[in-house]
C-alpha cells in the first residue's frame, strides 16, 4: 500500500483515517503528517484511526500512534483507534507495547459516539 493511497476524511467535526492492512513504515510516517495537516486546516474535535483491517502492529507503528495522539492533543483533539482485532490486541499487550493516551472503541460508530460525548 503506497502512502499516496491514504485518505484522511473529514466527517462533521472529526477526522477519519482508514489504515491499510499491512502498512509499511513510509505509510505510517505519512499518516502522521497528513493527520497533522488536516488538524491544522479543520480544527476538528478528534481523530479516528480505523484499524479494523490491520493484521499486525509492531513497535514502530505503536510508537507512531502514541506520538500522533500526543501531537493531536497538543492541537486540541482526541485520538481514538477503532476496531483493533483480538489477535492484534493480544500480541500488542504481550509484546509490552502501549499506545499512550490513545482511546479505543470497538468500531468507528462507537468511536464517533465517544468523540461526540466528550467535552
Amino acid at each position: 500500500m503506497a502512502a499516496e493511497a491514504l485518505s484522511v476524511i473529514k466527517v462533521r467535526d472529526m477526522l477519519l483515517v482508514t489504515v491499510p492492512p499491512d502498512p509499511d513504515d513510509e505509510t505510517i510516517t505519512a499518516l502522521q503528517d497528513r493527520v497533522l495537516e488536516a488538524m491544522e486546516r479543520h480544527a476538528p474535535k478528534g481523530l479516528i484511526l480505523d484499524i479494523t483491517t490491520v493484521e499486525s502492529l509492531d513497535s514502530f507503528f505503536a510508537r507512531t500512534i502514541a506520538e500522533t495522539t500526543q501531537m493531536v492533543a497538543l492541537m486540541g483533539g482526541l485520538t481514538v483507534i477503532a476496531g483493533m482485532r483480538p489477535a492484534v490486541a493480544i500480541t500488542t499487550t504481550q509484546l509490552g507495547l502501549t499506545l499512550g493516551s490513545t482511546l479505543a472503541a470497538l468500531d468507528v460508530d462507537m468511536a464517533m459516539d465517544l468523540l461526540a460525548n466528550h467535552d
Binding site: 482511546l103 479505543a104 468500531d107
Partner: protein, 302 residues
C-alpha cells in the same frame, strides 16, 4: 485376549491329562495324591470350579503362614506357579505381610463376611476388584479365599473420562452475553499460562463478535492467585481495553484481595467489585441503563 486363549489351549494340548496351572492344595495331613481332591471341607473342590476360568483370578492362602494353598490358571499366568510360597511375596513382591492385608476384614469378628475392595497390583500393574472371604479348609483351619476380577479397562476408561472432564473445566471459560453490550466470564479453577492464553483469545474474540463494551470477569471461582496469574489478568484487561471495551473484575473475595495487595499488584484503574451485582450496576451505567428497584420506589412514594 484371544492371544491368551490360544496360548493356553496350546499348553493344554501338550499335556491334556494333567491339569496344570491350578496349584494343588496340600493340607498337611493329606498325602500328595489326594491333593487334587482337597479344597473346602464341603462342596466341590476349588480346582473343579475355578481352574479354567480365565477372567477371574482365584487363590487361597493360610492367614497364619500366608502360604498359598491353591490358585487357578489365571493366577499362574500372571504370578507363576508359587504353591506353598507366601502370598505377599508372590503377589506383591514384599518381604513381609502387606500393610493393607484384608485378612482383618474376613477373620476374627468379621468371620463369615465378604470383603470387597479394589487395588492396583504392583507386579502386573493391573487393577482388580477383589472379593475376599474366609473358607473352611480340611483339617479344621480357616483359610483366606480371594476372587479377583481384572477391571483395568474400566479404570482406564474412568481415568480418560476424568481427564476429559478436568480438561473441560480447566480449559474453557464461558463468555456469556447477558445484555446488549455486556458479557460475563466466570473464571473457575486454576489459571496457568496455557489456560490464560486461551482465555484471552476466547474473551477478546467474543467481545469483538458481540461488540460488547463491558466484560464482567468474575473471579469468585478462581482457586488461587499468584504473581503469574495476576499478570495474565492484567494482560487480558489491557488487551480488552485496546479493543475499546472495559473489564470489571467481580467476585473479589477477601483472600484474593489480600493476596493481590501482598504481591504488590496494582489494579488501580481497574474497576473491581466484591459481587457480580455490583459489577452489573457498573455495566448497565456504561451502556446507558439504570436499574430501578420498583418496590423501594413505590415505598418511598407511599
Amino acid at each position: 485376549m484371544s492371544k491368551n486363549t490360544e496360548k493356553r489351549e496350546g499348553k493344554k494340548a501338550e499335556k491334556p491329562q494333567s491339569k496344570r496351572g491350578g496349584g494343588r492344595a496340600t493340607p498337611s495331613p493329606a498325602p500328595q495324591a489326594e491333593a487334587r481332591e482337597s479344597g473346602p471341607s464341603q462342596g466341590p473342590p476349588l480346582s473343579a470350579l475355578f481352574d479354567d476360568i480365565e477372567e477371574v483370578v482365584v487363590y487361597v492362602s493360610d492367614p497364619e503362614t500366608y502360604e498359598l494353598l491353591y490358585f487357578n490358571d489365571a493366577f499362574e499366568q500372571s504370578w507363576g506357579n508359587a504353591l506353598g510360597e507366601q502370598c505377599y511375596k508372590v503377589l506383591q513382591g514384599r518381604d513381609a505381610p502387606c500393610p493393607f492385608c484384608s485378612n482383618p476384614h474376613i477373620f476374627g469378628e468379621n468371620l463369615g463376611r465378604t470383603y470387597s475392595w479394589e487395588f492396583q497390583n504392583e507386579i502386573t500393574r493391573r487393577w482388580y476388584r477383589c472379593l475376599d472371604k474366609a473358607l473352611d479348609w480340611p483339617g479344621g483351619r480357616k483359610v483366606r479365599f480371594e476372587m479377583a476380577i481384572d477391571i483395568t479397562q474400566l479404570k482406564e476408561a474412568e481415568e480418560v473420562m476424568r481427564a476429559q472432564a478436568d480438561e473441560i473445566i480447566e480449559l474453557s471459560t464461558p463468555v456469556i452475553p447477558i445484555w446488549r453490550g455486556v458479557v460475563v466470564a466466570p473464571l473457575i479453577g486454576s489459571l496457568d499460562s496455557r489456560r490464560a492464553a486461551s482465555l484471552a483469545e476466547d474473551l477478546l474474540t467474543r467481545v469483538a463478535e458481540t461488540q460488547s463494551q463491558v466484560v464482567l470477569l468474575d473471579v469468585t471461582g478462581l482457586a488461587a492467585i499468584d504473581t503469574q496469574v495476576a499478570q495474565h489478568l492484567i494482560d487480558t484487561i489491557t488487551a480488552v481495553r485496546l479493543l475499546g471495551a472495559r473489564i470489571v473484575l467481580t467476585g473479589m473475595r477477601p483472600a484474593i484481595a489480600q493476596t493481590l495487595t501482598h504481591l504488590g499488584i496494582d489494579l488501580s484503574g481497574v474497576a473491581t467489585r466484591s459481587s457480580l451485582a455490583g459489577g452489573l450496576q457498573i455495566a448497565f451505567q456504561e451502556v446507558g441503563m439504570r436499574i430501578v428497584d420498583e418496590k423501594a420506589e413505590k415505598g418511598r412514594r407511599a
